[in-house]
């Protein structure tokens, strides 16, 4: 590794056991039970399968070098391994194989406000959060005024942060993070928080940092920001580094790859049953009037189905119902849409037509979803059922409404709701 290389990654790989919770012992009790079962198997002479354990390489054979002072954008779809890469490089989790050598002081920003405690004041949290991010006390003392000024919450700096609005909270947290002065910085998505104006301020700070000659590895879904800030790009697909080069080339390749995804947005019925005199012939997802495989979660979900009667069959579609069932990628049904909902739109009696349904956004948490279709009379007649015929991907919102990432860990359905304080807490009224 030459002296002007900031980061050198060789053959890095990270393997996850999937279904660790269910298949390996989650509790001591299960572990003991499993142990007993294994002994039972051994005694009865049925050697072999320990129970299915599946593993997944979230990162595999990744090698690249980053020269000092370069700002590198890491892009790729969901599950491509970007976040895993940053987690491994920032030592939150260990790699399964390979190594990375990082020269210089490392700073990682995978989430702002890590370690913030609601009961502590803004001032106390600045010190705590700074220490967690790796700043020394002397360093925080020196930068304290600057941090407070950047955050714009100076009037409330001695108030416990639980009284802060979410905007103030995030601004203070980012202000601390922004004053971290590492030689190498890993940033994951965190800039996609707060309102548009604050985001702009953050991006401004980022480019300031990059001009100061620091090495940055930047993960984001915001291609525009990546293109503006980065000079080089790394494209990941299913845990592998598939392209590395100038940021424009990499983004172009990413866009091309996205539109060429074999599975997304294409109707390919895996299994079908029913009488078959009328069928769902095609399904498409519309984004801005064009067929697509991906839709952002805050956009309306518009799906069209081509329903046709089989040649030579007299049209008997009248009285039929078309049902679309939206499922998670594990096949669990999430939501049913019928053309008879609220009076809806009746299927025409003959021939073929496109039926369109529009679900107002926000719809689902980013991730992959499937579609099943049913044509017939519910509980009475199954004319045509298609299972797993259509996959699509929901992307993170274009206009985020909450300052945190939306993940499946918090549920699947996105709802926007209005909040208000109905009754002020007594102590603050008394004061």
């Amino acid at each position: 590794m030459s002296s002007d290389t900031a980061l050198s990654v060789q053959g890095l790989g990270k393997q996850y056991q999937i279904g660790v919770r269910t298949q390996q012992a989650g509790t001591l009790r299960e572990r003991i039970a499993m142990g007993a079962a294994a002994i039972g198997r051994r005694l009865s002479g049925r050697e072999g399968a320990e129970g299915p354990t599946e593993s997944l390489w979230a990162l595999k054979d990744v090698s690249f070098d980053v020269p000092r002072g370069e700002v590198v954008g890491v892009i790729g779809g969901n599950g491509a391994g970007k976040s895993t890469l940053l987690k491994v490089l920032s030592r939150i989790t260990q790699p399964t194989e390979g190594r990375a050598v990082i020269s210089g002081r490392v700073g990682a920003l995978l989430e702002v406000s890590t370690g913030f405690h609601p009961e502590l004041t803004g001032r106390e949290n600045v010190f705590l959060n700074g220490a967690i991010l790796g700043m020394s006390k002397a360093e925080i003392v020196r930068k304290f005024d600057e941090i407070v000024e950047f955050s714009g919450v100076d009037r409330f700096i001695d108030t416990p942060v639980r009284f802060y609005s979410s905007g103030m909270y995030v601004r203070l947290a980012f202000a601390v993070a922004a004053h971290l002065e590492p030689e190498i910085l890993f940033v994951d998505e965190v800039l996609a928080v707060g309102d548009a104006q604050f985001q702009k301020k953050c991006l401004g700070k980022m480019s300031e940092v990059s001009r100061a000659g620091r090495t940055i590895l930047f993960v984001s879904h915001n291609l525009e920001a990546v293109q503006r800030l980065c000079s080089r790009g790394l494209l990941f697909e299913r845990g592998r580094l598939v392209e590395s080069g100038s940021i424009d080339d990499v983004i172009a390749r990413y866009r091309a790859a996205q539109s060429g995804d074999e599975l997304l947005g294409r109707f390919r019925p895996a299994s079908r049953r029913g009488l078959g005199y009328a069928r769902v012939e095609d399904v498409r997802l519309l984004v801005n009037g064009k067929a697509a495989g991906q839709v952002s979660c805050d956009a309306d979900l518009v799906i069209e189905c081509l329903v046709s009667t089989a040649p030579g069959q007299p049209g008997k579609l009248q009285g039929h119902t078309l049902e679309l069932t939206l499922c998670g990628d594990d096949g669990v049904p999430l939501c049913s849409l019928m053309n008879v909902d609220d009076g809806g739109a009746e299927l025409p009696s003959v021939g073929s037509c496109w039926m369109r349904v529009s679900v107002p956004g926000p719809t689902f948490v980013p991730g992959r979803y499937r579609l099943n279709t049913f044509l017939g009379i519910p509980n009475l007649l199954e004319t045509d059922s298609v299972f797993d015929g259509f996959d699509f991907e929901v992307l993170p919102p274009v206009h985020p409404w909450r300052p945190y990432e939306l993940t499946r860990a918090h549920g699947i359905v996105c709802r926007r709701a209005s909040w208000s304080v109905v009754e002020a807490p007594m102590p603050s009224v008394a004061r």
């Binding site: 260990q94 050598v101 490392v106 405690h117 220490a131 020394s136």
Partner: protein
């Protein structure tokens, strides 16, 4: 880069699979000592910030237990107390025991539900270490209470050996840390460990001379008895505060057993720490 930054900087970081040598761990622990201080400071601040009873809790728990023990074991059962007033005798043991139980309980729960672990890197050892250090504040308060009872109520002074007391506090802390490493790491993997802990503590308490004097244990069993380091801690506290005989032989056995436990605890912790973020 100025001096303040230079001390925290790691010129070259190597990320790879496998355990890291103890030396690296120790060096890193030292480099992050300020964070350890902040973690302890945060826990202490949060604990004492809101609760009026904050400081009182530290005293109330061992005090009430002392009252119960004095009535049940001291009066009703007539358990001997090495010639000391039973209340003082049991309180001198309950002070370190309460600290130990609290520290171990905190340490066991420290990794689970700690969002920091999945978001940022720092030596994972800091987490159980901080949870052992924070209850030292409660220990100090309880000790002050001890002196108040001793001098105010019983009108007696602790012997000169009281200056050696910190040695036994350190032994209690190291014991809690060694056991805490095991419980904390196991708790990440097996979530029912937290149900095991109260049982373990209960048994452990009766295996420690809190309600009774170690002198009740037959002479030839004492070395074996000393394998439980808390025996030495408790008898040491009594030696320092009340002037009962010093637990010399048991102290050596305890030091050896705690050293082995600590080494094993660190080794296990080091083996699994790389996967905490994957499981949490």
């Amino acid at each position: 880069m100025n001096a303040a930054e230079a001390h925290a900087s790691a010129p070259t970081t190597v990320v790879e699979a496998g355990r890291r040598p103890f030396v690296t761990l120790a060096r890193e622990f030292w480099a992050y000592r300020e964070l350890l201080y902040f973690l302890v400071w945060r826990d202490a601040k949060v604990r004492y910030k809101q609760t009026v009873l904050g400081a009182a809790w530290a005293v109330l728990q061992p005090f009430m237990t002392m009252v119960v023990f004095t009535i049940v074991f001291g009066r009703l059962a007539g358990v001997p107390s090495d010639g000391q007033p039973y209340a003082l005798f049991s309180f001198a043991a309950l002070v370190p025991w309460t600290y130990f139980a609290q520290g171990l309980g905190n340490a066991a729960a420290s990794l689970v539900g700690n969002r920091m672990i999945t978001r940022v890197y720092f030596p994972r050892l800091l987490v159980p270490a901080a949870s052992i250090l924070t209850p030292l504040i409660d220990l100090a308060i309880a000790l002050a209470m001890m002196f108040v009872i001793q001098m105010g109520w019983y009108r007696s002074l602790p012997p000169v050996t009281v200056v050696v007391l910190p040695v036994f506090i350190v032994l209690a802390a190291v014991t809690a840390f060694a056991a805490g490493l095991w419980f904390a790491a196991l708790n990440v993997k097996f979530r029912d460990v937290r149900y095991v802990l109260p049982f373990a503590l209960q048994f452990w308490m009766f295996a420690t001379p809190i309600a009774y004097p170690a002198s009740l244990v037959p002479e030839r069993w004492r070395p074996l008895y000393g394998l439980n380091p808390m025996v030495t801690v408790v008898e040491g506290f009594r030696w320092c505060l009340l002037g009962t005989p010093a637990p010399v032989l048991m102290a050596w056995v305890s030091c050896a057993s705690v050293a082995v436990a600590l080494w094993l605890g660190l080794a296990y912790f080091r083996r699994v720490e790389g996967t905490f973020a994957d499981v949490l």
